[in-house]
């Protein structure tokens, strides 16, 4: 069945019964000719737009329209995988790597005996080609600028050796290329991508065997309704003894079409995993199907801590939130436990720093215990908040704080996605009760406003550190001298030259030099904590129901080999770990 036919079918279905189609995508999509039996198939629900895979033809993950989360994550294998939960690196297409003492050169040894799915051998040339193309294309493609900033040239010196020269010391470059969460460089086949325009090339033609992959999956159907991947028994990693051949023969990815449809499909065993289930729905799921579990079993928080701790951001360029005492006052007004009880029915955790409490980061949390004792980012202390505002000349009139001109202390908060509507109303009410005139909105152009600094307050997370604190500190840098042409995130719009300098120093420090890293982190936090650029709230949780009717050995708290997000780059690890029941 061609994708074109599928597109037509979708139009007819949509015109005939769009509501029915939206509610029953599972039934429509699992009707496959010559399908492996149900107990050899793993079906999941994730993403899409309005219940459709609008990107079903797009398998070149570098195009700006592409999203690796929608399937390319299991097609393109990396040089290495990293599981933050297990704190383990799996060397993959690369066998080993070595930096020069000044970190201005990286030599990577790739594994011999790897072949692309079209039979062509994989080699160091593919790695060098990928990196050099990214350097040349720069802002035209994903990861282009990140590579362009540091890579001078990548050379394949023999079939299994790549030498990368950097323009600046880059001690984190191999880790940047390693797959973890949503970050990593996809290695593409030179013989297919060469001569193509990477910005528009789709790399999709099932008849030609595209997308070409070194991985254990081939795309056998992709349409608006579903993406189907079949196992490739000839996968190189089995012969190399790196991984078993996945027990599942087929995996079907369906676009999310609403919580109710997903919950029903999980209860009736049509689905093996899903997303988009709210904490309140889990008990219904467990009652309907006792074989459903989550990372934390059938107990709250029904998931695991994501790498994206959530904060209340205040624009540090907007008065009076440019004043650290006002920011601290807001922090003291927030009862985070109550926030969790009301917003998440108790199924969440507080977050004291803007990075997740993952095993490799725990020593860094310990290193600043003294500072956190002095600057308790979780303290609920309204009296202290009152004292701070009074100290700044604010007076409470009619239950609301106002400045010396009688202007009310107003905070307009914007939010988005799941976190905004969940936390926003509770947070807003909490601050109102303490005398802050607070409003909440979920604007459609949230990203645009937040990224451009056109906001006063905002609920958002931190896509920063996983193993060591540099990536989180970088989120707060106002300027960088260490990375030429660096582009900064700085959503909080906070500026501190001394902090920037320490972060730059950390950038050129070997992340394995723990004493130096700890010392730099402590120094950075000595500045950051008293200033509190954004107000720490709660952890972000991935709540993924996993069905053990047909499949077991899902990643859980007892068996945390990796996180279980199908959209992350490490999902192939889950796929080769799943075992039939």
């Amino acid at each position: 069945m061609s994708s074109h036919d599928m597109g037509r079918r979708a139009v007819v279905q949509g015109a005939a019964a769009s509501t029915v189609a939206a509610l029953t995508p599972i039934g429509l999509a699992t009707a496959q000719p010559a399908a492996p039996p149900r107990n050899k198939t793993m079906t999941l629900v994730w993403g899409g737009r309005e219940g459709r895979w609008v990107d079903f033809e797009l398998w070149n993950p570098y195009s700006i329209g592409a999203n690796h989360q929608n399937g390319p994550n299991i097609i393109y294998e990396p040089l290495a995988y990293y599981s933050a939960f297990a704190d383990k690196t799996y060397m993959w297409l690369a066998e080993s790597y070595q930096y020069s003492p000044d970190f201005k050169q990286l030599t990577i040894k790739t594994r011999p005996g790897i072949a692309w799915s079209d039979g062509k051998p994989f080699s160091a040339e593919d790695v060098a080609y990928t990196l050099n193309s990214l350097r040349e294309l720069g802002p035209k493609v994903k990861w282009g600028v990140d590579v362009q900033q540091v890579v001078k040239e990548a050379k394949a010196t023999d079939a299994n050796t790549v030498v990368i020269d950097f323009v600046v010391p880059a001690p984190r470059f191999f880790f940047f290329m390693t797959y973890k969460y949503d970050i990593g460089v996809y290695i593409v086949p030179k013989h297919v991508f060469s001569g193509q325009d990477w910005t528009t090339f789709k790399h999709f033609d099932i008849a030609k065997g595209w997308p070409v992959s070194t991985g254990p999956w081939k795309v056998t159907d992709a349409s608006l309704q579903q993406k189907v991947f079949e196992r490739r028994p000839e996968w190189w990693a089995v012969k190399a003894g790196l991984a078993p051949l996945p027990a599942l023969e087929r995996t079907i990815w369906l676009p999310f079409a609403g919580e109710q449809a997903a919950a029903q499909a999980l209860i009736t065993n049509q689905l093996d995993a899903s997303t988009g289930i709210q904490p309140a729905t889990f008990q219904t799921l467990f009652r309907g199907n006792p074989k459903i579990t989550t990372h934390s079993g059938q107990k709250p928080p029904f998931g695991y801590v994501d790498w994206w701790p959530i904060s209340l951001y205040v624009n540090n360029e907007v008065k009076p939130f440019d004043d650290k005492d006002v920011r601290w006052a807001l922090s003291h007004y927030i009862d985070r436990q109550q926030l969790i009880e009301v917003a998440y029915l108790g199924a969440s955790q507080v977050s004291s720093l803007p990075m997740p409490p993952y095993p490799p980061l725990m020593p860094y949390f310990d290193a600043v215990k003294d500072l956190l004792a002095k600057y308790d980012t979780l303290a609920f202390d309204p009296k202290k908040g009152d004292a701070l505002l009074s100290g700044k000349g604010f007076k409470k009139e009619g239950g609301f704080w106002a400045d010396s001109q009688g202007k009310k202390l107003t905070l307009d908060i914007i939010g988005f996605g799941a976190s905004g509507p969940a936390i926003g109303p509770v947070l807003s009410e909490m601050l109102k009760r303490r005398g802050i005139e607070t409003s909440l909105s979920i604007p459609p152009d949230f990203d645009n406003r937040f990224q451009k600094g056109q906001y006063v307050g905002s609920i958002y997370g931190h896509g920063g550190s996983i193993t060591e604190p540099y990536s989180t500190l970088r989120l707060y840098q106002g300027a960088s001298m260490a990375v030429p042409g660096a582009h900064l995130v700085n959503f909080a719009r906070w500026k501190n030259a001394a902090f920037d300098k320490i972060t730059d120093e950390m950038y050129v420090t070997d992340p394995n030099d723990k004493p130096k890293m700890m010392e730099l982190f402590h120094r950075a936090m000595e500045i950051w904590l008293p200033e509190l650029p954004d107000i720490q709230l709660v952890q972000n949780f991935h709540r993924i129901p996993m069905n053990t009717t047909y499949w077991k050995n899902w990643p859980t708290a007892e068996n945390p080999y990796v996180n279980g997000a199908s959209w992350h780059l490490t999902y192939p690890i889950v796929l080769w770990n799943l075992q039939p029941v």
Partner: protein, 142 residues
């Protein structure tokens, strides 16, 4: 007389097409959103990570789509391209072209519309034939 009528009708047709095209161009602009930035940020939001070169990427694709040009120039380019049925890329579904997407949908829209028109014509015809009074007035009795 008939030629003047056809010319007038054609002029009205052109005016309506121009008005529709103009509205189609200006209405999205009123939102004040940059579609390229919105697309890239949407992707960043899903990944929880903002690419280092987001601003450079926005500039690059604004240039590629002509969004860096003054509005009047964008409008003229748009009218020229539209009159040649060249709708360029869909930013929301990049790198699919609008023509690709429309050509997939057109046969089905036309087909459905055609069937509906035929059915309604046939039903109306039957109804008229089955109602003697109406049939007499319509002059198609028998």
């Amino acid at each position: 007389m008939q030629l003047a009528y056809i010319a007038r009708r054609f002029a009205v047709f052109l005016l309506i097409v121009w008005l529709a095209a103009t509205l189609n161009f200006f209405l999205p602009k009123l939102s004040g959103q940059d579609p390229v930035r919105a697309k890239l940020l949407q992707s960043a939001q899903l990944g929880g990570y903002v690419h280092a070169g987001l601003e450079d990427m926005v500039k690059e694709y604004d240039q590629r789509f002509g969004l860096d040009k003054p509005l009047w120039r964008q409008y003229l380019t748009y009218l020229r391209d539209t009159s040649h049925l060249d709708f360029n890329y869909s930013i929301a579904n990049y790198p699919r072209t609008v023509r690709e997407m429309v050509s997939e949908a057109v046969p089905w829209t036309v087909g459905l519309l055609g069937i509906t028109t035929l059915l309604s014509f046939r039903s109306a015809h039957c109804w008229v034939r089955c109602s003697p009074g109406l049939a007499r007035r319509a002059g198609c009795a028998g």
